[in-house]
């Protein structure tokens, strides 16, 4: 081998040696296996999750639906007005209750049935998550859920004979779109355009009523969030006119419902503590028939408690 060494061969040798030296370096650069895996990952559609803690924001809904096979038992309480003072133990002496069951038929479609003590109302609805907020391979700015519900008033027990009222007059219908965006891990905002039709109304009301709800939540910690919800009813009767017509108008006065709350989530439970001027818990009741004025101090303490049971295991 020694004999190969002359100036020309030396040059060749150098090239070979250089090649030999460089190639392993190049191979080494590619050797970071994790880097290779990271390069290989394709962008996926990232669906936003947990826009809200529960299916309820305050009195009304959030965009969230139950997952397939999950049954949620919801227990809601609204106490009397805090303005009742010590004699009424700041409202705690009275309470209205709503007991409900929500079931996830699919991850996006829920069905519910419930009973509310206000007007002894039975109500049921379908709730369908139509579009989901996403980022990544496909971007969509908001989550949109549609709600279609119906409520039946059992009270009064019997209509007076000759009043001309029939069973169908006890019914009311709700159509609602829930549009929410989770701006960050800690802040979500929701708009709720709502249409309510009541078959029977008081003299100062109209049958078809439109409302726009706004609401949101901000997280204080991983398990605790502050919430607010406001429904503005565009067809609310004028309280001044009503007062001018009647001596005791309290039953006929109408206000928009406003709610502030705290969500506390512990595993399968969500506890929501609320301050609100509404006591009814169906859309008809709290959007069109809120009789208390939040700003006059007629605020009710309330809570929603949910417990979710996974009936069918998802794969």
């Amino acid at each position: 081998m020694i004999l190969f060494i002359d100036p020309y061969n030396l040059k060749c040798m150098r090239r070979v040696i250089l090649l030999l030296l460089i190639t392993p370096l190049a191979a080494f650069a590619q050797d970071d296996l994790l880097g290779e895996l990271e390069k290989g990952t394709k962008p996926e559609v990232e669906y936003t999750f947990a826009t809200f803690k529960g299916t309820r924001l305050g009195n009304g809904h959030t965009v969230e639906t139950k997952n397939a096979g999950a049954l949620e038992f919801i227990f809601q309480h609204r106490f009397g007005p805090v303005s009742g003072g010590a004699y009424e133990l700041f409202g705690l002496d009275q309470a209205d209750v709503r007991l409900g069951l929500d079931y996830g038929i699919t991850d996006n479609l829920s069905v519910s049935i419930s009973r509310n003590s206000v007007d002894k109302t039975m109500d049921g609805y379908f709730k369908y998550k139509a579009l989901r907020q996403s980022s990544g391979a496909k971007t969509f700015p908001v989550t949109i859920t549609a709600l279609a519900g119906m409520a039946y008033k059992l009270s009064p027990k019997d209509f007076e004979e000759g009043s001309g009222l029939e069973n169908v007059d006890r019914l009311s219908y709700t159509g609602q779109l829930l549009i929410a965006r989770k701006f960050s891990t800690n802040f979500s905002f929701q708009l709720m355009p709502t249409f309510i039709h009541k078959n029977m109304v008081e003299f100062n009301e109209v049958n078809d009523q439109f409302a726009l709800g706004v609401g949101g939540r901000t997280k204080l910690s991983k398990s605790v969030a502050l919430t607010f919800e406001y429904y503005h009813n565009f067809n609310l009767p004028d309280n001044d006119d009503t007062e001018a017509l009647l001596e005791d108008p309290s039953f006929y006065l109408r206000y928009n419902s406003l709610t502030f709350g705290i969500d506390i989530e512990t595993g399968g439970h969500v506890f929501q503590l609320l301050l609100t001027n509404a006591i009814g818990l169906t859309e008809r009741a709290f959007i069109t028939e809120t009789r208390d004025d939040f700003f006059a101090g007629d605020i009710h303490l309330g809570f929603n408690v949910t417990r979710t049971f996974q009936l069918k295991k998802s794969k």
Binding site: F4, Y8, V16, L19, L20, T23
Partner: protein, 199 residues
């Protein structure tokens, strides 16, 4: 042998030919070796499942991620895997939401990975071989050096790698809120089950 041909006049001509052959052979063999190291020493996971189990007072929690990607270099023993936290599937979907939202914060830390080395195995051995993996495990944005026992089994051109190890939540800064502490164990058992084929 070339010494016989050594005369100052033809030495150069004679020397060039073997040099060229030598150089070409060297280069070709080098290319061949490099190519081989990519085709037969690198293994890509065709099935890669990472699951975990935690046994707690109130309820057992288990979840499985079947969308893991992994590469294994049989010569150097280097191995890496990568996964999205969101791809862990729970039997209970509500738990899945809480896992992502409250514990793993998967919007902030979307991925978990391992990069390290498997030592103590031979590609030519038959049956299950006990091996040791050591390297860097990243969970919840925290990277820790770990060591885990496991097995490697060669079946034809397939390689099966299995391992089981314990992850302490506090090591990775995963905080379980006080209010549900009974529900979730402070450590989970992670099971890794990979089947590799040559790349």
């Amino acid at each position: 042998m070339l010494t016989l041909l050594l005369s100052p006049s033809n030495i150069r001509r004679i020397q060039i030919l073997p040099m060229i052959i030598f150089k070409k052979l060297l280069f070709l063999s080098y290319l061949f070796i490099s190519a081989q190291s990519y085709s037969q020493q690198r293994f890509f996971a065709e099935k890669a499942i990472v699951s975990f189990f935690s046994d707690a007072v109130v309820e057992d929690i288990s979840a499985t991620n079947e969308k893991v990607t992994s590469i294994f270099d049989a010569v150097s023993g280097e191995v890496a895997y990568l996964m999205n936290i969101k791809d862990f599937q729970f039997p209970n979907k509500l738990m899945q939401v809480h896992f992502n939202e409250k514990y793993m914060e998967s919007e902030k830390y979307p991925k978990s990975s391992f990069q390290g080395k498997i030592s103590g195995f031979s590609l030519n051995a038959t049956g299950k071989q006990d091996v040791k993996a050591s390297g860097k495990l990243t969970i919840h944005g925290v990277t820790k050096n770990i060591e885990a026992p496991g097995t490697v089994e060669v079946n034809g051109n397939r390689l099966t790698v299995k391992s089981k190890f314990t992850v302490k939540l506090l090591d990775y800064n995963i905080k379980v809120p006080q209010i549900v502490w009974q529900n979730i164990a402070q450590q989970v058992e992670v099971t890794v089950d990979f089947v590799y084929r040559p790349l």
